[in-house]
Subunit: 429 residues, 2 copies
Amino acid sequence: MRLSEFVLPTLKETPAEAQIVSHQLMLRAGMIRQESVGIYSWLPLGLRVMKNVEAIIREEQNLAGAQEILMPTIQSADLWRESGRYDDYGKEMLRIEDRHGRDLLYGPTNEEMVTAILRDYIKSYRELPVNLYHIQWKFRDEVRPRFGVMRGREFLMKDAYSFDLDLEGAKKSYDNMFATYLRTFTRMGLKAVPVRADPGAIGGDMSHEFHILTGTGESAIFYDVIYDELTLDVDNPDVEALQSIYAVEEKLHDPVSCPVAGDRLKQARGIEVGHIFYFGTKYSKAMGLVVDGPEGERIIVEMGSYGIGVSRLPAAIIEASHDKNGIIWPDSVAPFAVGLVNLKVADKACVSQCEDIYNRLREAGIDVLYDDRDERPGAKFADMDLIGLPWQLVVGPRELAVDRLELKRRDGGAREELSLESVLAKLTG
Amino acid sequence: MRLSEFVLPTLKETPAEAQIVSHQLMLRAGMIRQESVGIYSWLPLGLRVMKNVEAIIREEQNLAGAQEILMPTIQSADLWRESGRYDDYGKEMLRIEDRHGRDLLYGPTNEEMVTAILRDYIKSYRELPVNLYHIQWKFRDEVRPRFGVMRGREFLMKDAYSFDLDLEGAKKSYDNMFATYLRTFTRMGLKAVPVRADPGAIGGDMSHEFHILTGTGESAIFYDVIYDELTLDVDNPDVEALQSIYAVEEKLHDPVSCPVAGDRLKQARGIEVGHIFYFGTKYSKAMGLVVDGPEGERIIVEMGSYGIGVSRLPAAIIEASHDKNGIIWPDSVAPFAVGLVNLKVADKACVSQCEDIYNRLREAGIDVLYDDRDERPGAKFADMDLIGLPWQLVVGPRELAVDRLELKRRDGGAREELSLESVLAKLTG
């Protein structure tokens, strides 16, 4: 993609309305635009990141054996009356009346609908277990939306729902998603801490939130310092061992009964990027999701839900990975792999060299953003650092003279002078 | 994917509520489920088709130089007050009030929002032309939703918007999308006829709907029989020549002035799958989307919009491609490339052979649905024909004995007996 043709409205100044660094950088890098309070458009650069995030989530859900469906954004109120949540949900639910006076709502979550779907189609114990997920926009009419897409009103979420015959099966489904979440976040360059969360009326210990530890996180958590020292074996995580490490949300922390010694206990703030939750027969009982067992007995299906905040993740990644000059994208979610910077567009040799490199990079399957604009080098370098592509490849008269390109790694800033062949080998390697 | 684990709730009987064949077959093949009037969930099989359709549209939009963004589903009423359409739009607009009493709406289309986006970011003639598209859910509160996803209320649409400096540029953008649409639909196995549509108050001849001709289409069109005889050169279409062929929507057809001789004129019914439309400065003028020209003059930007009905297309493809036994998917959009049918799951040799073939197919990168269920052969064949995968690969004791597999082409029903190596070569070829 040529930057001269790419819609990338970067800003030099930090917008006054943005309080946290991810919101500031997403606005400055031209990733998002606020359309209404807590409602955003994703501009080309931002959407590329979100799509990469989404692709990793989808791949890992499929590998875990979950099946993708797509439920609509608009739901009928009657469905929520079945579970009793229509009246309970309060003002965060966006309630709508259609032209015929029927009560609808913009789905804040999908437990009811997915239960109704399975109720129609699953009749026998032989058809379980099943795990269904979708990646769809949700709406929660937060009283004070803030921090950009971190706490928006319209947001993209992956929510999966497991259906099992008994608690043992439900625990297996839960642990499968627990491991999948660790892999998913690790692939995005994030270290996510699984934090025990309040299971509410359901009880038990099958409720974990996954937190990215940063000072700007909205949640307070307490955890054993062992998490800071841990190297996760994501291909084969010891789920039981990980779940036994102390890490809890604030309201579950009791200084008196806490099993971790004072010098080993850390307090931190975290951004919640995922939540997995076993809720047993809460919805299946209320809505009649029951299957025939092997002896003809009726079995009320055990359920769990598994959410990931898709549109929140680009912001969470920025909170975890930036410096004073801008964003530092992990390779796996970067909007482009490399930025090609032409330092002198008035120089014909320089242009011709850049065009050649641009074509070679694209032929090699490397996603490249080519800064072919007529701008000062300083402005080009500043924009490249701001938007945070993993690699910058610089071409100017000096580089031409020595037949070497300057390749800079955004993370750390190390520079190398390389031949084009070596650059290609490095970027495809 | 193993069918025993796949959520595929096929129906033997045709649901009474479905009036047209695509709606009947989508319900019978377990592709969709109605959640409210005109609002559907996409089950795993249906979603796979829609994602393939979406991927083709996205590829062709990107190739045409359009840039993908993502605008939200919920819009502010104030934006629509700027263009004057908030009051004009009528009851099809789903109007919403949030918890603070602000007027919102579920976007039925995005001209206003995309104009506001460009107004913020584009200042100079040097930054044009631009074409932005997104693929997002829309809502139109139709008074009588019908025909399943063909005329739903919540529907997925690709809408692109072009921005040019003058009419000549706008015409070029229009023709670019005209050619892109022909390629897009052809890749889906569809023959789409570009039909001149009413440009309304804008006038001119830059308004075309793309129609799939089937008896169940909702629109009446008149066209020169030359379209039936035409072989389209999609890689290099002669846009001017194609636009000069007579094909108009009913309200533009005047038998008296029609230039086509009676025996060459055909009347047909069509399903509208795309609409491209030049509307000049209608929104840019009302909303102040103006750029500086080369001499410092102010230029009001010329705009066009380009829609494709993404969630309608799987239904349109079925209308165009089915027989009495079910759907016949074109290869490019098929949910799986091949169905592997184990005729005898009680036979250990048969199971072992099927497992081996299943693994070989997957290793070769072939998307396979493996019917490993304990069902009668007749039921398995009926389901395979119903869901319409392009190829069926049959394994039973008879096939084992002769060391040959039966490969059936769904379209036409031709059968061949082949070795596994030949099957792999054929399916990857």
